[in-house]
């Protein structure tokens, strides 16, 4: 069987923190990567940075754009589908599905990059 993972007790991270730190910490060592790993890591880093920037820009545009829209068009307060002002819905409801969609898209892209 190819490298069966070591058995590790899963507890609250706080508990593990206490356990880990109770023992003496190992001396810090210079991090190393072998040539294959270094190459793959560099490629992943570049691809993830590109994807991350794109997602970050989308997120910022959404989160800065929404208050701007609400500030520029106060008329949105007076449009009332189902008697609730549309501007309230844009603040209290709309961001959550939008943020969820963005996060799932980013998750899919980031995992796709690692499958290559």
């Amino acid at each position: 069987m190819p490298h069966r993972p070591k058995r590790v007790a899963v507890t609250s991270p706080q508990t593990r923190l206490a356990h880990l730190r109770g023992r003496a910490r190992g001396r810090w060592r210079v991090p190393r990567l072998d040539a294959d790993e270094a190459e793959r890591a560099a490629a992943l880093y570049l691809a993830q940075r590109r994807q991350g920037l794109l997602a970050l820009i989308l997120g910022v545009v959404t989160l800065v754009g929404l208050p701007l829209v609400l500030a520029v068009w106060p008329a949105l307060d007076t449009i009332r589908p189902w008697t609730i002002p549309v501007s309230w819905l844009m603040l209290a409801v709309l961001p959550y599905p939008a943020l969820t969609a963005l996060s799932f898209w980013q998750l899919r892209q980031a995992e796709r990059i690692e499958r290559r």
Partner: protein, 559 residues
């Protein structure tokens, strides 16, 4: 009374879990080992369980009553924080193997000095985050039991520290995940019940806010903190024992722990120079910070702090380490966005109904109790009592989950990162830290929970956010750059907070940039780190240390 018993039950059960923790962990270790593959969905429920604090459960609705609909930007920022976490931090942080930011600082930059500095920052964030939790718990206890505020705070502090000192946070992921479901149910069911039972008239008023100018009926206001009221004309108020006093016109100081009954049709005074609920600005969907104006700037300031601060919250970062690898840490962050999105659909309902049904809470200066005050206002039978009980229990569950995690992070930072220590010292540190937090929470009652919590986020956003983001994505970051950036971010934020608390009264956009300094402290910290790093030379292994964080694990076999 029933409510007090229920809240006491929650506290006792938490204590018992704490006591039982050690034994349970040994005998069920096989069970725990088998659960090594904590699924991302379960883990994200646990993350949300720890994240949804008393400030989310009660504070947001209270801010809506006080400041207006725009206060709903806080939960948007809280949720957006997990997107920033997902994009920038989750997977590389998990792959670094570091459990906390001090660990990360040492692993990435090999700097014990930066580790200690980060530990100090953990203390600051922890204090700014824990004080409002204790304050809110104290307020809720004093509402459901008629105990004075300070007794409530002390009880809350004792329960948290006793839980932690006796058993530690041994309860595994399942407890936190279960807590999330409990909080979700205890929040949603009463909200839907309220929406149905208030009737069409109140529902109509909730979405058509009118200014709260005159008391619609004889209204008793219980002052839990000192308040300064400004009366436009003299008003005759009664105390419950029947004595009548004339207040105003002009400013009147009302001491804490007394109840005043305002007669029907008298004009409503303003509080501490603030606005009036339901007024001109109340219905606007942008944040109205203490009537400073510039709602767009205030909104963006709070969004910056909360969205960028989340990734630096010490008790949340640690949660991600229950994930077996970087890939599932990333999934955990993504699912957390969805789960928080469900929860945060509901504070607005409590806020909008609270403005109609209990606007007088606003006079007492403390609106955080709006959620627990609502059910008894619309129904005086057993259902109302039951709903009040459910909400109080939920609020306490929220308070305990967050506070226990925070207190352990604080104590860990003191006894391991700053001083050499063992388990015994950790336990003593827990008690001392809790005592200090209680002392800090005692005078904090008049401060808005939202403001204090946002300060915690602002410190995280101006220190740990640049440290993590540049540490993970920029190979040229140096020790000197990281240390000076964290120092600049920490002191500029603390300076702004000190001016806000003790400085002269401010107005306009300057006031916003002092009370919510994230828009300038975060860029300042980033700039300092970049400039100082560029003037120095990163060690030759720096690039490898960074690339290592981006290397994915070999794919797991999918048996």
């Amino acid at each position: 009374m029933a409510t007090l018993v229920a809240v006491a039950t929650v506290m006792v059960v938490t204590l018992l879990i704490g006591l039982h923790g050690v034994a349970a962990m040994r005998t069920t270790s096989d069970f725990l080992v088998a659960s090594r593959r904590v699924s991302p969905l379960l883990n994200s429920a646990a993350v949300s369980g720890e994240y949804l604090s008393a400030a989310s459960f009660l504070g947001v609705a209270g801010l809506v009553v006080r400041d207006g609909v725009g206060a709903l930007w806080y939960p948007v920022g809280f949720t957006a924080g997990y997107i920033a976490m997902l994009i920038l931090v989750a997977a590389p942080m998990r792959r670094s193997g570091a459990l906390t930011v001090p660990d990360f600082a040492e692993a990435r930059l090999a700097s014990p000095g930066l580790r200690r500095l980060s530990a100090v920052v953990v203390l600051v964030i922890g204090a700014l985050y824990l004080v409002p939790q204790l304050r809110t718990a104290g307020l809720v206890l004093s509402v459901v039991s008629d105990l004075p505020y300070w007794v409530g705070v002390v009880i809350a502090g004792v329960v948290v520290s006793a839980t932690l000192a006796l058993g530690g946070m041994r309860a595994a992921t399942y407890v936190q995940a279960f807590q999330f479901l409990v909080k979700l149910l205890l929040f949603i069911v009463p909200a839907l019940w309220l929406l149905v039972i208030v009737g069409p008239h109140v529902r109509h008023e909730a979405v058509h806010p009118v200014e709260f100018t005159h008391f619609p009926k004889d209204t008793a206001v219980e002052f839990q903190v000192d308040a300064t009221l400004t009366f436009p004309e003299p008003v005759t108020v009664r105390t419950p024992d029947g004595t009548e006093t004339v207040l105003g016109p002009g400013e009147v100081r009302v001491d804490a722990n007394q109840t005043l009954v305002f007669p029907k049709d008298t004009p409503v005074p303003t509080v501490n120079g603030g606005g009036i609920p339901g007024g001109e600005q109340w219905h606007r969907p942008l944040l109205n910070l203490s009537d400073y104006g510039h709602p767009l700037l205030a909104t963006l300031a709070v969004l910056t702090a909360t969205a960028l601060g989340t990734m630096g919250l010490p008790h949340v970062l640690m949660r991600f380490h229950t994930s077996p690898d970087g890939r599932s840490a990333r999934r955990t962050a993504a699912f957390t966005v969805a789960l928080l999105g469900i929860f945060y659909l509901f504070p607005g309902i409590y806020g909008a109904l609270g403005r109609v049904l209990v606007p007088e809470l606003y006079l007492s200066g403390v609106t955080d109790t709006v959620v627990v005050a609502l059910p008894s206002r619309v129904s005086d039978d057993w259902v109302g009592t039951l709903m009040t009980t459910l909400l109080s229990v939920g609020a306490f569950a929220a308070f305990l989950a967050t506070s226990v995690g925070l207190l352990l992070v604080i104590s860990g930072a003191i006894s391991y990162d700053l001083l050499p220590g063992g388990l015994r010292r950790l336990r003593i540190t827990v008690l001392l830290a809790a005592a200090v937090m209680v002392l800090l929470a005692l005078p904090a009652a008049p401060l808005a929970a939202g403001m204090l919590v946002t300060w915690g986020f602002t410190v995280a956003a101006s220190t740990f956010c640049p440290l993590l983001v540049l540490g993970i994505w920029w190979p040229r970051l140096t020790k000197a750059g990281a240390v000076s950036g964290v120092l600049v971010g920490l002191f500029s934020t603390l300076g702004a907070i000190a001016v806000a608390l003790f400085g002269p009264p401010l107005a306009g956009w300057q006031a916003i940039l002092i009370t919510q300094p994230a828009p300038w402290t975060v860029p300042l910290a980033f700039a300092t780190m970049v400039v100082v790093s560029l003037r120095g030379q990163a060690p030759p292994w720096s690039r490898t240390a960074m690339l290592r964080l981006h290397l994915d694990e070999p794919p797991r076999d999918t048996r």
